[in-house]
Symmetry: C2
Subunit: 212 residues, 2 copies
Amino acid sequence: AGPGRAMRAAALAVALAVTAVALAVAAWRRTRPVREVLFFPSRPCCIEGLLAEAAEPGVPARPCPCPLPSGDTALSRLVRRLLSARRSLDLCLFCFSCPQLGRAVQLLHRRGVRVRLVTDAQYMGLHGSQIGRLRHAGIQVRHDQHSGYMHHKFAIVDQRTLITGSLNWTSQAIQSNRENVLVVEDAEYVKAFQDEFERIWEEYNPANYSFF
Amino acid sequence: AGPGRAMRAAALAVALAVTAVALAVAAWRRTRPVREVLFFPSRPCCIEGLLAEAAEPGVPARPCPCPLPSGDTALSRLVRRLLSARRSLDLCLFCFSCPQLGRAVQLLHRRGVRVRLVTDAQYMGLHGSQIGRLRHAGIQVRHDQHSGYMHHKFAIVDQRTLITGSLNWTSQAIQSNRENVLVVEDAEYVKAFQDEFERIWEEYNPANYSFF
């Protein structure tokens, strides 16, 4: 019985080790962070369905009468990522004039998501800028007072998903330019950008203004 | 001796399993891709030492007489990453007017690194643009013929390290703007950008020009 028991014990130990490795691999796969790249220009698309679904989840959206297709595009993917916010959306944007993205952000604000927006003082007044509308809707906006541009173009969803790249949030950029956007969940990148956001947010706190 | 042998066999199996896991962890750590974020504006800095070291590795560089410090800055880190290229450097840049980065790229070209550059047709003629110098030095440059901007600002070192973000390669952006640059080695991101580069490179192949 000696060799038999030894074999059984060894087989059991190996089986346990194999199970442990399999579980570790499964855990790694499950928590594997999202990695996505979006390239622009995006095909034009209708995002009414996405907005309606986000406004009233589960309620079938009425078909939109506009002639645009509602397919899977770089823009629709970007909008989907933004609309996934449940708690917070931190935006750090050189310029923001795309009405579709403006509506998505307003919807999140109405849904109770805490939206904070930092933008560039010179570009916030550009033709078609969404900043006035967003402020009007009650969204907190801060802007810099420096001579250099606040040239970031990133968003952080729920302090967990970083959306960053070359894309300014303008219709021209979305529809006409070659642009890239990375969707990143790796904690190291996200933390670096979240810290940068908090630094800028505090630096441009109106309570610290000294010019009036 | 039966229980003793069983215990020994089990202990051996466990020891093997532990060793296997330790080796796997070590392998994972060793191949763990670089993840770095650079924020700008960068403190001004002298990169002469970096360029000299890259031009003649091992030869002590003569101290630069300029008054700038040669410390660790966002710019020096960016330059270091570029100068690490051994085989190839693919550049996809909306505008390129920073003389320091221009010198780094020229040095790589002289050292035998295959440099390819895609840029924006409208912005390549901007005041201070490095594009003319780079072409003069023999570096292959292609530019788009579309109305939208070629607004990417990324570099790929040795088809392995992606350097991308909001930063245009201008002294103004480096010294004055709030900007971000990600250094990425995750294969998924790198492949997506390399494919985008090859697409644009081929699309703007002068052999396909139809306007003359």
